[in-house]
């Protein structure tokens, strides 16, 4: 040890129990920053100690509060040594107890330059959009990217509508729905973004297939089919064998899309696969023989056989659909931690998915 080494701040170790995951935190770095940099899906939102999303109980070690945790945490949490990893300076190595800590390490998001290569109409207001990137992007099925054009500062978030490939993809596919008066989708649907350079940031999001062998209940609404297609095609590629029932909520028959792709998934699926389209606004006099109503109203009828098998639910669509479907799932006895949602209105990172 050199004579000046005693003045050098040293990295300290964070261990997460019961998973045993650990990572080092450099001087000047927050625990949250270090965990995110390692690719762990650390729960968080504001990153500055105001929202409390990242809170976790510390079972060993000492930290210094960089803000008064009492402003944010409740009395009981303070008594149980909860800390805010986004605003704690480590005095020693520490151990945090996070029972449901996601072990999966995600690919850290990066900035890319992209070009919109082509757009293909899927319905009146949904397009398949193909974007080529300046380098390969690695992602997990179910995640999303942010797109940003120079004239609009707020980035738009869209999920991958394709399965990931080994070593990443230089071309990505998304489903994009036209938002009434939407600035970004207005430009896109008017053809003004074709062959234009856009900024792409990703991969982002915590919507991906959790491990298990229990049945899958997938529920998508509108352009929310994209991450489900991504996950299901990835399951086929990885030879995952789980029973699956897939609901697709749309307004009318003309709003159903990628039916051939779903048919292909059904044919290649290892296990039982059932596809249930549910239409909310199909005219009564039409000869639609399938389910009618909002998609959540059909869940109970089709999933009874799976309820006692501890199914995992994956939801993607508008907030009202997510809320209604989540409530139905919980009422049916599905465990809350097994319900995973990719909300268009994503409160966790305060971005609106269109």
């Amino acid at each position: 040890m050199g004579i000046f080494d005693i003045f050098k701040a040293k990295s300290k170790k964070v261990t997460i129990t019961p998973s045993g995951v650990n990572f080092m935190v450099s001087p000047g770095q927050t625990i949250l920053e270090a965990g995110l940099a390692e690719g762990y899906a650390m729960p968080h939102s504001c990153k500055v100690g105001t929202c409390g999303e990242c809170k976790a109980p510390m079972v060993e070690g000492k930290i210094k509060e960089l803000i008064n945790f009492g402003y944010v945490l409740e009395a009981e949490e303070l008594q149980n040594d909860y800390i805010l990893p986004c605003r704690a300076s480590m005095k020693t190595d520490i151990v945090l107890d996070i029972p449901n800590f996601e072990l999966k390490r995600l690919h850290p998001p990066q900035d890319f330059m992209g070009t919109i290569e082509k757009t293909i109409d899927l319905t009146e207001d949904i397009k398949r959009v193909v974007i080529s990137l300046d380098k390969e992007m690695e992602f997990d099925a179910g995640q999303y990217v942010e797109l940003q054009v120079e004239s609009i500062v707020e980035p738009r978030s869209y999920s991958f509508a394709m399965k990931p490939v080994l070593n990443g993809s230089k071309q990505i596919e998304l489903f994009i729905r036209k938002v009434p008066n939407g600035k970004f989708t207005g430009l896109l649907f008017d053809g003004l973004l074709e062959n234009k350079q856009i900024k792409v940031k990703g991969p982002l999001g915590n919507f991906w297939l959790r491990e298990g062998d229990t049945p899958l209940i997938c529920i998508g609404g509108g352009s929310g089919l994209a991450p489900l297609i991504s996950i299901l095609e990835d399951c086929i590629a990885k030879s995952i064998k789980r029973d699956c029932i897939m609901f697709f909520g749309a307004r009318s028959e003309k709003d159903l899309y990628v039916l051939n792709q779903i048919k292909e998934i059904e044919q290649k699926w290892q296990g039982s696969f059932q596809f249930v389209p549910v239409l909310s606004d199909e005219p009564e006099d039409n000869n639609w023989a399938g389910e009618r109503g909002f998609v959540h109203t059909a869940i109970e009828k089709y999933t009874k056989k799976y309820i006692n098998l501890n199914p995992h639910v994956y939801l993607c669509g508008p907030p009202v659909m997510i809320d209604a479907a989540t409530k139905v799932g919980i009422d049916l006895g599905i465990l809350k931690e097994n319900i995973h949602a990719d909300n268009f209105f994503d409160l966790s990172n305060k971005k609106v998915k269109s």
Binding site: C46, K47, V48, I67, Y71, V153
Partner: protein
Amino acid sequence: MNDYIKFYLAPLVQVVGAVGIYVGGNYMWAGLATLPVLAILDTILPDNFEKRKMNNRLLADIPLVISALLGIALLFLLAWKINVTPDLTTLQMVGGALSLGWLSTVVSLPATHELFHEINPIRKAIGIVGQLAFFDVTRHISHNNGHHLDVASSLDYDTAKRGENIYKFAVETGWQNHKESFKLEANALKKRGKNAWSLSNYMYKALLILVFFYVGVYYIGGETGLLYVLLAQAVARLWIEGLNYFQHCGLIRVNHAPILHYHVWNHLKPISRIITFEITNHCDHHQDAFMPYYEMTPDKDSVRLPGALTCFAIALIPPIWFNFILKPALKEWDNRFANDEEKKLARAANKAAGWEDWIK
């Protein structure tokens, strides 16, 4: 010009004020004289949408630290000058106080705000203590744990209601912010099983900071020096609430709904952006308070108000401010950006303010 260098305009303007006070006489007004000069420049120059080409936080923080410390040093300088120059006229001393009031508003507030958001304990402490320049060493508490959660909603003290003029807002929001900080601190202690008046209360530290500061000012400047330092701080404080006013006034957000880029007013004139360390371009800051000032991207698509320095002048005459600046901006904002829920609230707010219903 190199972006790192541009931000030295802020401490440079403070140095103009310092030289003016040091020289004395009518030069005591020099700091305030920078206001019309900068405001005219800001008005003439077009909006600036450039993103800063900076990435070294340590280098970028140097002008912030200088400005935060200079803000306090200038008050001591004023006290000293008044004490050693008995022949200064009242008008000249008022000029000194107004000069420092202005410099604290336009430079000290943005610099200290940026610093108290940091995690580095030394820079954070400089940011907190630097708020002395405008008589407020508790603002960071209500700002972080109130304004950042509630911006543009009815719960936010820092968002003026439609029809509320700058004078009413400046007086009320200052008081409300102090109250909120006291409340947050007391609740935090109660949660730890301590009495709100226990010695762990940060407010004692705040009080000690103030006592040390005023003892120092009195020692250097005597009674008269202390009086004019208090005047400079009071002017700064009222003016700062004015800056606060221009950032969000009249905007609407449903309580607890996600914060989006349009919940902030933008003033993207080049001088406004530089001298306030990008606080007039802070829509990114409300989405990610962890983001340093030089990483914020100007929102080209936003409804923009005139430069912040011009707004300072116009808002002093509320009828002109409302009819020629704020109402047209809000009309565009309501119809271009507000969602359906926000439109409902905006319509009610217009009605309550006695304004016409312009929502389509």
